[in-house]
Amino acid sequence: MKKYDEKWEDRINALLDGELSDTDAEALKSEASDDRLLARAIIEAYQLQQAMDAVHVERAPASLRKRLNAVPREQNAESRTGFTPRLFQPRWVMALVAVPLAIIAVNLMQPDTPSTAEIAKAPQDLAIAFAYLDRAGSITGREIESNVGHTMADAISGSVNRTIKFSNEHSKEKEV
């Protein structure tokens, strides 16, 4: 008696699957007549195949069939409820905030260049401002004089008036 040969498996299965030619099938059967183990393996394989005929694809239960048929409806409903209007999506909200901020930033970054009319009006504004300052200096001097004395008043009002005069002349030079 031969030892059980693993290679028989391929041939036995091919026999059962109907993949062996008639000649090969006869050769295997004839070999089995001389070998008890092989013969037994073939018989058992046939028995298994017969038993397997009793095992069929199972019918899906009604509850499952119902669930499977409901899949399109449920998935469509899910995708509808999961919908967020475009304007409320985070990226759009961020864009809505970012655009005005960018406009403001661009405006702030613009160089502050005066118009021609503003430049033309500037000396007049300066003259008025200096006149006010001159007057303020004189008033301040009088106030100090009445409180502290003449020397201190001259020192302060003189200093203020000199500063105003200097600034006035300096701006005129710049204009020229």
């Binding site: 498996e9 391929d10 299965n13 038993a51 899906a60 499952l64």
Partner: protein, 162 residues
């Protein structure tokens, strides 16, 4: 498109259910796994080649079941209590056939990928080529593993048969 999906449900629901049933050994979980697979089918319906729907669905069903098995860490071999559900559930037609019931238990008790191979090839009757595609194995591997699985079943059957 919905009509086509319904056609797929009609054609493949039993096969997908059978795969899930054998792998998970739990009716409720098998229903959930089968539904998950069909939800994926619906969501990918425009991407799948209509000719390849069956192998795609079987593969997705099996992979989903194996993921579930991994999650529940079910390394314990077949639990007899599940068979009570089998006999009174969709397998009721086989209750009278002792060999059939025994064989179902034996198949469910096989390790992966042997169990899936036997279910896909011998129960669902898919071709070797289809099974190879579903399990991402080559044809030689499919045959080798299937032969080993059948041999195991054969030997177990020989033990219980007079």
């Amino acid at each position: 498109m919905s009509r086509r999906y319904r056609q797929w449900v009609k054609e493949y629901q039993d096969q997908a259910w059978t795969v899930a049933r054998y792998i998970l050994k739990d009716a409720q979980e098998a229903e959930d796994a089968t539904q998950d697979a069909f939800v994926k089918l619906w969501n990918n319906r425009d991407k799948i080649d209509p000719e390849r729907v069956k192998p795609w669905l079987m593969k997705v069903t099996r992979n989903g079941c194996l993921d579930r098995l991994r999650r529940r860490r079910d390394n314990v071999e077949f639990d007899e209590s599940h068979m009570a559900g089998v006999v009174s559930g969709p397998m009721q037609g086989l209750a009278a056939n002792e060999v059939g019931v025994w064989l179902k238990r034996a198949i469910a008790g096989l390790k992966e990928p042997y169990r899936s191979l036997v279910v896909l090839r011998d129960v669902n009757q898919h071709s070797y080529e289809e099974v190879a595609g579903m399990l991402e194995l080559n044809l030689a591997q499919v045959k080798t593993y299937l032969h080993r699985a059948r041999k195991q079943l054969r030997e177990q059957l020989a033990e219980v048969r007079p």
